[in-house]
């Protein structure tokens, strides 16, 4: 039941407890209790909107994904450097990767220069960072399971039946 609740909230976190109750076939009080539990357990960490950034005109923004190769430190591996990096406001997400590089850092800045400065002055000089590779995002097609581009056309025909 929890999984179904989470999956509905993932699709639309603005659904009311009453709406969720109908969808799950339980009472609104029960929904309230389950959400409370999920929040208390730190399973649900927050609620956010899925935004098509391209349609926001008043705000210039660039997103970059930066690959970092890092020397793991004695005793704590990647944890310490990860903690340092995630503390920067510019960092949108940070993940440890298997493969040719170690940390993937998603950075949002006002412009290319902003991001370049962040990489060269904040990330690259950190002790343990061996190399950086910066990739700028050109277009997002899908986010959090939802297609960002124009809505798909329904190809099904309306006839009987």
């Amino acid at each position: 039941m929890n999984n179904k609740l989470i999956s509905l909230l993932r699709q639309n976190s603005r659904l009311s407890n009453e709406q969720l109750a109908v969808m799950l076939g339980i009472t609104a009080e029960e929904v309230e209790k389950q959400i409370q539990n999920l929040e208390n357990q730190g399973i649900i960490m927050g609620y956010s909107a899925i935004v098509n950034e391209e349609k926001i005109n008043d705000e210039e923004k660039v997103t970059a994904i930066i690959e970092l190769r890092v020397t793991p430190q004695k005793d704590c591996g990647f944890e310490k450097i990860a903690e340092t990096i995630m503390a920067y406001d510019e960092v949108e997400s940070l993940t440890l990767m298997a493969g040719p590089y170690d940390l993937a850092v998603t950075v949002i800045g006002r412009n290319v220069k902003d991001v370049a400065m962040f990489v060269s002055q904040r990330l690259a000089p950190l002790s343990g960072v061996l190399s950086t590779a910066t990739h700028f995002v050109l277009k997002t097609y899908k986010e959090k399971g939802i297609s960002i581009s124009d809505e798909e056309k329904d190809e099904r025909n309306f006839f009987l039946p």
Binding site: V22, M23, L24, R156, F158, P161
Partner: protein, 394 residues
């Protein structure tokens, strides 16, 4: 100049095109319509099935299959029916793979009906049964079902329509358009009526995978019914494979052998590519089907709750992907309701009377759409109902 009227078959000319064709034409051509009208899944065919099709397109020659369908697929269908519904059909001689459930229905009716035979058709139901019966010079006798009985076929209703000429009963559950189902107990009662007759049952169970809260039961499983049952199903609804055009019929050998003749001469064989791919659907897609059923279930609850809240009393459907709310409280006929809703709110639903007279006073609303789409449409319908209530009060 040829007089086309004189060359056409009398029976074909008598076939009634749907009386509400104008409505459908309008709905199909109008811009920006929020449709709740379609009768096919909004899901993509499971990837494993598509992958298999791609694979055979690359590697195989697409030749005719055996008339009755590929031997492997018939074996898979047999295993599947046993596993899912506890019904046994022998792959050799009791199963014919057809072009969708539609062809299976056509072949079954043609194999059974003689001129003046009476065929009982449970209504409201899918629109194809009656025209095919009439093409065979049979008599289509509607057996209406009622909302107060959850649109189930009641044994008394059945009994009162049986005559010495009754040949066939068409039993379409889970039902399109009502979403009604028949439970084991319901079917036992029907079996009781049929057991001492010579009536054959054509059970159209194309929606059998799509039931909510409980598992589907087939009449073929009820004692004494297998030998008088023609079982029709297919891949369209369960596996979101409408365009693949693949279904099947199962029946005792003496019946299946005769039906195979019609299929053989009229169709030759079902699409080979689809047959290869369908085997994967039967064996490897339980998870995918469950996901779809779970999703339909959420939508079903939203619509039923929504309609009842709006004041369009909606009985709780337990199968297929349709709700069948009652619109009598608006004072409109089904067609009025649908036409005005389309004109005023650009929302398209199907008038209940399109599925037989007993569907009058209801509309069919499909939930083969995303939640977002359904919630938006519900809002429009609510506005529509409120506006008309206010209008009537003035």
């Amino acid at each position: 100049m040829i007089n086309y009227e004189s060359v056409l078959s009398k029976k074909v000319k008598e076939m009634q095109p749907s009386g509400i064709r104008r409505y459908f034409d309008l709905a199909a051509t109008m811009e920006g319509v929020i449709s709740l009208g379609v009768g096919e899944p909004d899901f993509q065919t499971p990837w494993l099935v598509r992958k298999k099709a791609l694979d055979v397109i690359e590697r195989k020659r697409m030749v005719y299959s055996s008339n009755q369908g590929m031997a492997d697929l018939r074996k898979d269908i047999s295993d599947y029916l046993q596993r899912k519904y506890n019904i046994k059909y022998c792959p050799d001689g009791e199963i014919v793979v057809t072009v969708g459930g539609s062809e299976a229905i056509d072949v079954a009716i043609r194999a059974i009906v003689n001129p003046d035979d009476e065929v009982l058709i449970v209504e409201p139901s899918f629109v194809c049964y009656k025209p095919i019966v009439e093409l065979m010079h049979g008599k289509a006798i509607p057996v209406p079902t009622k909302e107060e009985n959850k649109f189930k076929l009641m044994p008394d209703e059945l009994r009162s329509h049986i005559t010495s000429k009754t040949k066939l009963l068409i039993l379409p559950y889970p039902n399109n358009p009502t979403g009604a189902i028949m439970t084991r107990e319901d079917l036992e009662a029907i079996a009781e009526v049929l057991r001492d007759t010579n009536i054959i049952v054509l059970t159209d169970e194309i929606y059998s995978e799509l039931t909510y809260e409980r598992k589907h039961c087939s009449i073929a499983e009820i004692e004494g019914m297998w030998e008088r049952t023609i079982y029709v199903s297919g891949f369209s609804k369960a596996f979101a494979m409408t365009g693949w055009r693949l279904g099947y019929l199962c029946a005792p050998k003496p019946l299946a052998a005769q039906m195979l003749k019609i299929h053989q001469y009229a169709i030759m064989c079902a699409p080979t590519m689809s047959q290869y791919a369908a085997a994967v659907a039967l064996k490897e897609c339980d998870e995918e089907v469950k996901k779809m059923v779970d999703e339909y279930n959420v939508r079903r609850r939203v619509l039923v709750d929504g309609f009842n809240r709006i004041g369009l009393k909606c009985f709780e459907p337990e199968g297929a992907f349709y709700t069948f709310p009652c619109i009598k409280s608006t004072g409109m006929t089904s067609e009025e309701f649908c036409s005005k809703l389309l004109e005023e709110k650009k929302v398209a639903v199907v008038p209940g009377n399109a599925f037989g007279e007993s569907g009058e006073g209801f509309v069919r609303v499909s939930y083969a759409y995303s939640l977002k789409h359904l919630m938006q449409a519900l809002k429009c319908i609510e506005e529509f109902v409120v506006e008309h209530k206010n209008k009537d009060n003035i």
